[in-house]
């Protein structure tokens, strides 16, 4: 029978190998077993690389430990680590996630020269006046007039949206796309939103109703979870 319970189970899938690592034994034991299991042949230049997905279960590895694991696997013959998945994250990370996906409600007027920076989504009850600016890492919803600059998805989230009751902005920015007001004087639009059009990679303004089709996962938390 078993001398000891196996700490590592290797599964072959179409996409490569999956290493299931038992989350009750010690890390040293795992490193040792890994070394034995994966053999000690030196990498050769022929043959295709095999991708490895490591599943840690309920074990938390810090950055150093992850690197160590990474190194052990990569040293082996034609293996490379695609991802290291864990069922658990640190409290800090979780809070950062929460912060990043929360809708923050702010009730004031953003006047000329003022900048409002928010992590996550912003619900602004009030106006953004010309010369004022709101910047968020998530979406921007404005119950009021957007006349200044709005920058959604400032960390590069191209799926972010900007919606306002009345929109006549100086500039709309989503991730690294910028669109500006036309040079002629234009009337604003009511209840519209700005999103990045996937095909042209430019910001387009449309009725807020289209959001339900084009951005199905607007509601924060799950979206961030799935995006990591």
């Amino acid at each position: 029978m078993h001398e000891k319970k196996q700490a590592i189970t290797i599964k072959g899938t179409r996409d490569g190998l999956t290493l299931l690592i038992d989350d009750t034994c010690s890390l040293e034991a795992i490193f040792k077993e890994l070394d034995e299991k994966l053999g000690d042949t030196q990498p050769t230049n022929d043959g295709k690389l095999v991708s490895v997905t490591v599943k840690l279960g309920h074990r938390y590895l810090n950055k150093e430990q992850k690197e160590q694991l990474h190194d052990i696997i990569s040293q082996k013959n034609n293996l490379f680590v695609q991802s290291i998945d864990s069922e658990v994250i640190q409290r800090e990370e979780a809070l950062a996630w929460k912060e990043d996906s929360e809708v923050k409600t702010i009730n004031r007027i953003i006047r000329s020269g003022q900048v409002l920076e928010i992590t996550g989504d912003l619900l602004l009850i009030g106006d953004v006046n010309p010369g004022g600016k709101v910047v968020t890492t998530g979406n921007i919803y404005i119950m009021g007039n957007l006349l200044g600059i709005a920058h959604a998805g400032a960390n590069g989230d191209k799926d972010a949206v900007i919606a306002a009751s009345y929109m006549n902005p100086t500039q709309l920015r989503i991730a690294d796309c910028i669109s500006r007001a036309p040079d002629y004087e234009a009337e604003g639009v009511y209840m519209e939103c700005g999103i990045i059009d996937k095909e042209t990679d430019k910001i387009v303004i449309d009725q807020v109703q289209v959001l339900s089709q084009k951005r199905k996962s607007l509601s924060g938390f799950e979206r961030r979870m799935s995006n990591g």
């Binding site: 020269g113 006046n129 007039n145």
Partner: protein
């Protein structure tokens, strides 16, 4: 205990000094004890508009640097016993005054006067900070121009950070025919953007320039439009409810009769 009101705008040339002179004069007309303070050090002109330039001996910098007593620097108005002016210095610059210095002066003046009206320099630097330092209330002056409204918005944002009542708005230099033709911002649009209470509108009136060149505030002329506007603003500061002046020109009796009969005027 008096009340200190700062007249500010951000942008230059919108009529802060004229507004200060006229609100002060109108309040004095209503038998209030008023002191005007010019804080535009180095570019003083409130004294010129009031026609008191030749009476200046000491100024606000002399008071702050203790070369004279506060009452020595105050200039009595030539028309009203109850109106005084604390002039700015012409030779120093804005760093000669500190926020603390201003606060002390205003605290002293509040003992003796009902209203202290402070003329603020243009800009948002030290001069502005000094001017608003001792103020209890603020009045923001703007003209119906985009640039001036933008600056007023900036100023309101800065004032909101201070511990004072929400500022109130004066829209100056309104030209009715330009608003009608759509070439000038509408009063409603301005109020909507700035979203603060409107305390008065002043129509662009040649009388204002004429009288300020003579050193006589326009509020003293009995019937000009601007003069009525400034006196109305003073009444609103005193807490009265006064309807806004109509922008339309007064029409003759004949056209009123015609209107009455439903004929086109």
């Amino acid at each position: 205990m008096g009340e200190a009101i700062v007249i500010t705008s951000g942008k230059g040339g919108v009529g802060k000094t004229t507004t200060t002179a006229n609100i002060g004069t109108a309040l004095a007309l209503m038998e209030k004890k008023v002191c005007l303070i010019d804080t535009d050090i180095g570019l003083r002109n409130l004294d010129v508009v009031m026609g008191l330039e030749n009476r200046i001996i000491y100024d606000i910098v002399d008071v702050i640097e203790e070369r004279c007593k506060l009452h020595q620097a105050l200039i009595k108005d030539k028309r009203f016993e109850s109106l005084s002016l604390l002039p700015a210095a012409q030779t120093s610059d804005k760093t000669a005054v500190t926020s603390e210095g201003m606060e002390t002066i205003i605290k002293q003046l509040k003992q003796d006067y009902d209203y202290i009206v402070i003329d603020c320099p243009a800009g948002i630097e030290q001069g502005f900070q000094n001017a608003i330092a001792g103020a209890d209330k603020a009045v923001v002056v703007t003209t119906p121009e985009k640039s001036s409204v933008r600056d007023a918005d900036r100023i309101i944002g800065l004032l909101e950070k201070e511990e004072m009542e929400a500022p109130r708005l004066i829209i100056n230099r309104i030209r009715n025919h330009m608003i009608k033709s759509g070439d000038m911002l509408d009063i409603d649009d301005i109020v909507q953007i700035l979203s603060i209470d409107l305390i008065g509108i002043v129509i662009d009136d040649d009388e204002v320039i004429k009288s300020s060149n003579h050193g006589e505030p326009v509020a003293l002329t009995p019937n000009s439009k601007a003069s009525i506007a400034y006196r109305n603003i003073a009444r609103r500061i005193l807490g009265e409810t006064v309807p806004l002046q109509s922008l339309e020109d007064e029409k003759g009796m004949f056209s009123k009769v015609k209107k009455f009969f439903g004929m086109r005027t």
